[in-house]
């Protein structure tokens, strides 16, 4: 007999799950790589197991795909699992095979220590600690940010998780910078292990509510000026939120960043300085890089009383990701933006609209901008002065000339909150935030019509400024 309201809708195949059982000893990690072409179905049979600080339920079937991660056991756990083919997977070539191994060499003790130190700082100060995580490529920054957020949540806090790495979409798409209060657990089954934002209906997990800033590229170096501008704008919103929200203020901020290996590059130095100043950072956590730690300590000597610089060892479990894997992961998170997760399906909506009349801009690649500048005839600085407002925008966003299938098809468009006027939007376009994203699947150059995928059914907000991103995607 089944109780109404308790049918999960997911049938657990008891025999299947008993096929493989692994015991993860206390303090150990089980590191697994799951290809995109398979679903890894598993459940915790006994003990306590967690993924990036989010505790897994016992005896509930879970599913993962296209990811490399570790399941950690704070108390010895047993996990039953099996793999099934993902028939919808479009990634047949270049995908990995399933692999797994156990390891008792983890940096979890240090992370627990760090979490507890952070908690002690919450009690000491009126406002919670503002933590910046830095480190090289594939050093486990995002994992650390997730664990610190999850443990903070377990200790009755809701910190703001800030993602400044445009490679990943955190509660948003790649190419954006976000800040999100972590007021409930991450959805480890969602792609990248973050979860959904608010929907028009009911989801199985409480959604999150981020603020999303435009960047448009997946590498922060593609337009460093725009990137830094948006980092600062995001900081303004985050600090204002802290002022307005005592429970978030008490919990603090946890910031994930793009990879930085050393301070040789002056751009990287000024970027770290920008972040530290704008977010009023008081704890910097450096992952696994002695040199970077020393450089930072040197650089911020004058602030040693107000900033703690802490080094934490890199986990042995960090793996390098191929560009192809990263690309597949980005596509997967775009898919999730429109279609949701397997437990929370979302319905996007396709609509045909006129290309005419849309206020379309594009993100500017700094190197393109510089090359056009060098072709300018001498003496052109004068026009620069006369048309200041528009020129301020030039190195960040430019009007998309001749929108057509060649520059729009299969691309993602950012819809901003800013409503279009007859004048140039100027700085307002830089200062606005993202309303949402749409995908253009088809451009009819003759009829001047485009086929657009909207996250939800309704009227296309055609009066708002749109910015065409450099992120391609095909449905």
């Amino acid at each position: 007999m089944s109780l109404p309201g308790f049918e999960s809708g997911i049938i657990i195949d008891e025999q299947q799950i008993q096929k493989h059982i692994i015991t993860i000893p206390i303090g150990s990690e089980w590191r697994i790589e799951i290809p995109f072409k398979s679903f890894f179905k598993f459940k915790v049979i006994s003990g306590i197991a967690e993924i990036n600080g989010t505790e897994l339920p016992n005896n509930t079937e879970l599913q993962l795909s296209g990811t490399k991660l570790a399941i950690y056991s704070p108390k010895t756990s047993q996990i039953g699992y099996f793999l099934v083919d993902n028939k919808d997977s479009i990634y047949d070539n270049g995908d990995n095979e399933f692999s797994e191994y156990l390891s008792n060499e983890t940096n979890m003790s240090s992370i627990i220590n760090l979490s507890m130190f952070i908690e002690s700082r919450r009690q000491l100060n009126k406002s919670g600690p503002r933590i910046l995580i830095v480190g090289g490529k594939f050093s486990g920054k995002s994992s650390l940010a997730k664990i610190l957020s999850s443990y903070s949540l377990k200790l009755n806090n809701s910190p703001i998780l800030v993602n400044l790495n445009p490679r990943d979409g955190v509660f948003s798409l790649p190419g954006s910078l976000t800040a999100t209060p972590i007021s409930d657990s991450f959805d480890i089954e969602a792609f990248n292990g973050y979860g959904l934002t608010t929907t028009t209906g009911t989801s199985r997990q409480n959604p999150k509510q981020p603020i999303v800033k435009n960047y448009g590229f997946t590498n922060y170096k593609d337009n460093l000026d725009l990137y830094k501008y948006q980092v600062s704008r995001l900081a303004v919103s985050v600090l204002s939120r802290l002022e307005n929200d005592p429970s978030v203020n008490k919990s603090g901020i946890i910031i994930d960043t793009p990879p930085i290996n050393n301070l040789k590059n002056k751009d990287d130095v000024s970027l770290i300085e920008t972040i530290i100043t704008d977010f009023q950072i008081d704890i910097v956590v450096v992952i696994g890089n002695e040199k970077l730690t020393l450089d930072l300590k040197n650089k911020f000597k004058h602030k040693k009383d107000s900033i703690n610089i802490i080094k934490i060892n890199k986990s042995q479990g960090c793996v390098e990701l191929s560009d192809r894997f990263i690309r597949m992961a980005q596509e997967q998170s775009i898919k999730e933006y429109f279609h949701g997760t397997y437990k929370n399906r979302l319905s996007p909506f396709k609509i045909d609209i006129d290309l005419e009349g849309l206020k379309l801009y594009k993100f500017v690649l700094t190197k393109d901008f510089l090359s056009t500048m060098s072709f300018l005839p001498a003496g052109d600085e004068e026009t620069e002065n006369t048309n200041n407002e528009e020129n301020i925008l030039d190195k960040y966003y430019q009007i998309l000339e001749d929108p057509s299938s060649s520059n729009l098809e299969n691309s993602l468009i950012t819809i901003t909150h800013l409503e279009a006027t007859n004048n140039s939007p100027g700085k307002d376009l830089l200062d606005t935030s993202v309303l949402g994203f749409v995908h253009i699947s088809k451009v009819d150059d003759e009829k001047k019509k485009i086929k657009v995928l909207l996250p939800f059914p309704g009227v296309f907000p055609k009066n708002n400024y749109l910015i065409s991103t450099n992120i391609g995607y095909s449905e």
Binding site: S185, T199, S203, S237, N344, S347, P457, V459, N463
Partner: protein, 554 residues
Amino acid sequence: MSNDLIRQYETKLNQLTFNSRPIIDELTIVAKDNPIIADQIVDLIKNRIYKAVPDQKLFILYLLDSICKTVGNPYNIFIADEVYDLYTHVFQFLNDTLRNKMVNLLNTWKEMKTISNDPLFPEEELAKIEEFIKKAGYPKNIIPEAQQLLINDITQIIPIFENKIKTNPTPKLQERYTALGQLKTMLSNQVITPAELAAVQNHLHNIKQQELRNSNTPTPAATPAPTPAQVTQPPIQVQVAQVVEPQRQASLPPKPQSRPQTNSGPPSLPPVPQIPKINIAIGLFNDLLLSGLVKKDQEPIPGSKPTYSLVFPETKYSPMSNNEEVSISQLEDILLASSGVARSEYEKLKFGEILTISKKTKTNDQLQQFINSNKPSSSMINLLYEDKPKKCPTCGKRFTDDTDGLTKHRLHFDWHFRINKKISTKGGNIQSRNWYLDDYDWVHFKDENLLEFSTTETIMATPEVEMNVTQPGSQYVVVPPNDTNMINRCVICREQVKATYNDEVGEWCWLDCIRVPGEPKNSRKIVHISCFNESNKKRSAETELNTNVKREKL
């Protein structure tokens, strides 16, 4: 005939989605005129209470209350066996303010007699309810969060003073200490205005700053240049003069009748005027004004409203300053003392751990050492797991096993139940991703609205089926009472909607719009009726499409 009546009654009952006197009166009269179908009416109401979304349950209970009080027999008799269940069911979904209202409701039930002079409900049932609310700790004093933080702050400062008085008792310290105690009592017992709150906050901050500094540099010569905290010193004394009295009475609240006995000091001392509690705040506030910490701007017109602003001290309190040693040992005191005060078991355990940790992480080197090589103790690890022993089997979330934790656990469990039920209903959960908020809305957003403990339960609410097509014309959304921003936006097309004054209802309204289904009553989220209908048409078309696709696959 009576079937029709029942149906009508049900329809009207479903409209009781807000606290509407007219609807309650109308439904009471119908109940009064039709005692023959009393059992069916009672069933309807009972079901509606259980089925209604949490923030509407109370209104239906009010209806029941109205019927029982004005009609009595047979309604109160029919309901007698279930009055406890109904009451406790509604109670658990409400916030503290509404729960207090329910306590008042219970009090009227205890006093009320029916027309036939019988008790409204059986005494033993009411006693059961009373025990229930007592256990839950109601009625509660509702202190705003900011004020609560302030109280916590004072609780932290008090032990510092206690310590200092022990080592170096000066009258000034005594006075300040007593003043703090008074301030705390006052804050715990009444709600003060935001301006007063801000002033007190700043004032406290300075006391804290100065005390920490002083304790590091005991000689007056080494005291840093005058800080605003010192500027406020004389006013504190003015205020303290008012509270000397209670201090002598071993911190009892001032009572007029006991004053002559204790006030046996020198006759030259004028009798201290009796000051009602609120005056301490006003007194302190005035002191702050005098000290220049709070600036007051007022039009030179009698009766005009003054505006207050804070003048920030030039040197800010920084716990990381050179006197690290001192602040750490004081932190210890603070934590020890505050761990004894009205905190949950879990918070106490956490404080114990943090205390040990703060000792081990005094310097940067110690901190790095601690991060690298401390072996987390089991009591430290338990904070993340076993100290919250109730683990949800569906999602893994943990809860403590004290009253608060158990209540949350139950609400959480109910929430899973509702969602599963909804999702298992065919086509019951077609949903899409919302737009993101803009900066202003995000800055003012409260994440509680996303959680299962939210008493408004807005996110959960589902648009009723009959709402699918809404007629334009007479539809409007009244601008929420505390809202000053008349300009709003349709959530679908993002077009601006300006409020206009509606003479008929005497309110500012956004015309041709409805509030987004499921949003709470004071929400600003509105949608054009045309956009809403359009979107629904498309959605149902899409649903059909989806089911077709499914069928093909099967």
